[in-house]
Subunit: 651 residues, 2 copies
């Protein structure tokens, strides 16, 4: 059985370094300007996979598309992002972070609309049965055609299709595919009619198989159904923000673009509940002066480019529909750029009117430019009262808030009075549940019931807690309008939701932080991730120069010290040359590398400048820790310690 | 729709405080000695649910058994446990922490044995169809009978059944249920025959529904299938430890005992791979002197009690089968007691010979005593080479390690020589994959093939990479034995696995840390969680004494300072009495409460002593932070600051 393993090991050798032997420096910048995106992406992905940032899952069983494992460095990067998210959003704003179940019974996702509408348009290869996403096929067709012929009437039509692609109905999408005679990729076989495919992973909960369920496709619903508890816990005050991170599951038809479209991914969501009549934010002034690349609706439809806007002005002018939405746009901008996203490759694009969910009041996507184009990484949506209202209606539990009014206010109210005697005769032991369901009707439902009972004398009525419909007769309930004086206003809160795709942010950070630079000899290009210490999986690598006990003891001492400072690090005791170890350290994006070359002192090398200083063994960890934590800069270190010039062989 | 909400709010009032009005102090200690376990458990659970440590999921839709949501304090407790686990195990031992996919294709769980063997014995109520776990019914039956009659021949028989319950085969379990005439609980209907029910949640991956898959029932398999990558990344050296935390999913037949048996739970697992010929551990001396309550196999079978053993002696005497297993027992002991588990209620129970998985070399469970009895919270198993071997065999990818031998060693080797000409004629383009599969056979498989080909001339052979069987003829492969000199020893590593049920540990901590104490007036019992600062969800509560702008400004200032020290805290601006707010603070288990009662100075109250000191507003956060981080003790604070004696109304 050795053969397989040896073959695998050979394939593990840092091949990308050699394959880039042409000594041309590569970065996202050079890739975008040269158009050589494939080579750049290959260099990034090869490095990530070789260093186990991530890898396809279950490879020894040939794997499954769209599933990836994070190895140690990738896991630490994800953890750094999530920990910073917690500090920057959750703790800063005193949000409640929760963890709701991911197995979800059907009733919840029926109410939220996911069972009926969380679909992608699918077509099959009629010969092989292979599944394809219809909109992707249409997009690929248009783009390929346009590559060949970019002007003329046909080209204009194709450009138009691309522009409205996301808004096409199932019918229109199907018509276009037929009209263009699009066939299956690779096989060129004809395609089936188009149909909606639900993206949720279905399962069944409980041994009897009677409770249909799904793996959650987003974390938000778990929060919505608990709104009442969070509201009460917050002293019945709004605004109220609840946060959640966790895995979500979507059965993508054709996963592609690596980490950008996977079937299981980490989401970090904030549900910020507000009074729909007051979406101001006390901390908006903190972000109002930010100048941000924005792409409002009008600029998109009139063919203009994204442009820099001052956030405060965008809110005042109504481009962004509320201070709270604007506040989160500003905070997301600060969050992403602090992690290392290039601010010139970050824009906030407003959803077009017909692209937006019908209930959303306004929606902006933080899009990051990478080799695959501008990719949505954070969605910031004002979902209005849609979700709470939908769950109130289906569960018949009121998910509402209330505010005291300064003075009594006369309002017309619907009064629902169940006639208990009649209900008792009709429903016996179930009477109580029927009464509760009647009393929990919304005003609109009650008025509809009144109209039906007045005209037909009887109607079917769903009692959720009984799990069945009952027949309500006119004599069982009295529904009247009455003028009353209210001292509270009861309303369904709006929710503003920033939703972060952690995997996408992570992948874009990899692309933004990757570049190559020539080796000392100049004959090859070496990979380097220029991660900020905040993001770097290892703040520091530690190498004993040669394998001997004294050096290894010193390395262990430094490791222990680094642990006491909570500095994530890695010891490399492979006997390879120091140059190779620095190259490896750069591929991990470690800001610093400590080489133990004597019993008493060591060198510290800074990744970006490749400069080295010599410090005492006892000081090494604290120097690294001080720079990582921002207590001093590398310039301070450079000014304070003797410089070490590396031998030619070092790099 | 207000009615429902108002009713819900009323039910939210801290009812347990009143219901304990009898002024008897409650703790796990008093509950165990009085036998009044139900009342204790109710007090614990009421407090946890009222303060949103956790709650049943999807309650507005009547929920689903076995699913729970963590609210803000519960989430923080879980996070504190996991963060401490990372520090104590992962970083301390330089383990690689990874995150593997939770959606798992069937092939992986077929190889691991889960598809065939991860079952519980189930019976149905033949009238209602309701499902029951057969072993639970038998257990309940025996225990109830024994409660009535504890001696005599029948009692002895029942006691014996309870002792061997976990080892009973499906057949024997079925026989006992028939023999005792056990019927369905509640309905008393007859029961169906018994059958195995697989506990995994099944789903299907990909749009065509062709890839059967499951939600992972443990995290370990994701690590095993990637062993080769981790081994290479570790410089091909053992030992090698890979850690993973994450949700796992088990479709329990009848979830019960709240957080102890749920359908979705957080697991933290370590897979420590070692050379089976060398299970020593260099850091074992660090734990060898620990005296730990242990319950070896012999003590259990001979009816003795668990006893304190010195860990080093237990390893020397062979009670624990290796230093590495012993090292993890010691580390788990230190981990749990540091979190706050009472060391007198923690024991390590060895699996009985027939209770252990057939492949396991030795297995010890860390069991924690709570109101439900002694519960397995951490399993520490030497799983031998079973898992890696099973995946090697099924995937035909060698999951092995190798060590250089000091001197060349003559060994008999099986040489497999595929005859490429014949294979090419037979399999054309598939030849390469057939050749690779033949070369990847284990020695045993090769010898079996040789025997079959010698006798029958031909055999079916599974080529995993082709996804089908092919027919191999005698002339297609030559299999011979040869004496060769080897310079490496190739072997399948053993894996030692500590597996932590985070939810169970968390629940036991709640019970160990819960107690009541009389209110100042002595007329009621107040709940308090005496969490160590390490575990406490909020290190500190902050209360402005009355609602005015100056006090709220001071509270905001303190909150900002606490954030800068990374001290999790909660501001309570409800206008309730300070006594009620202290009671709430105690129910959250906050070690400290800061009351802002002037613009310049505040009081800090310590939870357990209820002592209060007065400090300057500017110092408050740093004093709390110093005690939480262990830089000073409360005694130091008490000695350094003026004491504040609370008014009678305060508590």
């Amino acid at each position: 059985m050795q053969t397989t393993m040896e073959a695998a090991e050979q394939s593990k050798k840092p091949s990308s370094v050699e394959s880039q032997g042409n000594a041309v420096e590569i970065s996202l910048q050079t890739a975008l300007s040269s158009g050589n995106l494939e080579a750049f992406r290959k260099a990034v992905v090869n490095t990530l996979e070789r260093r186990l940032f991530y890898k396809p899952s279950f490879e020894i069983y040939k794997g499954v598309a769209g599933l990836y494992d994070l190895g140690a460095p990738g896991f630490l990067v994800e953890l750094n992002i999530i920990n910073f998210w917690r500090k920057f959003f959750v703790r800063e704003e005193n949000m409640a972070e929760v963890r709701c179940a991911s197995l979800t019974p059907e009733a919840v996702l029926k109410a939220s609309g996911h069972v009926d509408k969380f679909t992608d348009p699918m077509v099959n290869d009629v010969i092989t049965g292979e599944c394809h996403r219809a909109d992707h096929l249409l997009k690929d067709y248009c783009e390929k055609k346009l590559e060949k012929d970019h002007s003329g009437e046909e080209a204009d039509e194709l450009k138009n299709v691309l522009a409205v692609l996301e808004d096409l109905s199932i019918e229109d999408l199907g018509k276009k595919i037929k009209e263009y005679g699009i066939t299956a990729p690779v096989t060129k076989n004809p395609l089936s009619d188009l149909y909606p495919f639900n993206l949720m992973f279905q399962t069944s909960i409980g041994p009897a198989g009677l409770i249909p369920g799904y793996m959650r496709p987003e974390t938000a619903q778990g929060i919505f159904v608990n709104f009442k508890d969070y509201y009460y816990d917050n002293g019945k005050k709004l605004p109220l923000a609840v946060a959640q991170t966790g895995l979500v599951f979507r059965n993508e038809i054709s996963p592609r673009q690596g980490l950008l479209r996977t079937r299981e991914f980490m989401l970090a969501e904030i549900e910020h509940f507000v009074d729909p009549d007051n979406k101001s934010h006390p901390k908006f002034p903190d972000v109002a002066k930010l100048e941000i690349l924005m792409f409002p609706r009008e600029e998109q439809t009139s063919g203009q480019a994204a442009k820099k806007l001052v956030l405060g002005e965008a809110v005042v002018k109504g481009t962004v529909n509320s201070e709270t939405l604007g506040y989160f746009i500003g905070r997301v901008y600060l969050f992403l750029t602090r992690l290392g996203i290039d601010k010139e490759r970050l824009r906030f694009r407003q959803h077009l009117a017909n692209e937006m969910a019908h209930y959303a009041a306004d929606c902006w996507d933080a899009e990051i430019e990478c080799s695959y184009g501008w990719k949505e990484c954070v969605g910031i949506a004002d979902r209005s009262a849609y979700d709470l209202y939908a769950h109130s209606e289906k569960s018949r539990v009121a998910l509402v808030a209330e505010v005291k009014l300064a003075e009594l206010k006369e309002v017309e109210k619907i009064v629902i009075t169940p006639v208990k005697r009649e209900l008792g005769l009709a429903f016996k032991g179930d009477q109580k549940k029927v009464v509760e369901a009647l009393e929990a009707m919304s005003e609109q439902e009650a008025m509809e019931m009144k109209a039906t009972l007045d005209s037909k004398g009887e109607m079917e009525f769903e009692v959720c807690t009984l799990g069945r419909n009952v027949s309500i007769k006119k004599n069982m309930v009295s529904i009247t309008k009455k003028m009353t004086k209210e001292h509270v206003r009861v309303f369904t809160p709006s929710v503003i939701e920033p939703s972060f795709g952690i995997g996408r942010i992570m992948y874009c950070l990899y692309e933004h932080k990757f570049s190559t630079r020539p080796s000392k000899a100049g004959d090859e290009q070496l990979n380097v991730y220029r991660f900020d210490p905040l993001l770097a999986p290892y703040k520091c690598m530690v190498f004993p120069l040669v394998q001997n006990q004294q050096f290894e003891e010193a390395a262990k001492f430094i490791s222990k010290e680094l642990k006491s400072f909570d500095m994530s690090h890695k010891i490399d005791i492979t006997g390879t040359s120091i140059g190779k170890r620095y190259a490896k350290s750069d591929e991990f994006g470690a800001p610093f590398a400590i080489t133990v070359d004597s019993e008493t002192s060591v060198t510290i090398r800074e990744r970006d400048s490749k400069d080295q200083v010599r410090v005492n063994v006892k000081e090494a960890a604290s120097v690294v820790s001080s720079v990582v934590e921002g207590k001093m800069t590398w310039q301070d270190v450079w000014a304070s310690f003797p410089h070490h010039s590396s031998a030619a062989s070092d790099e």
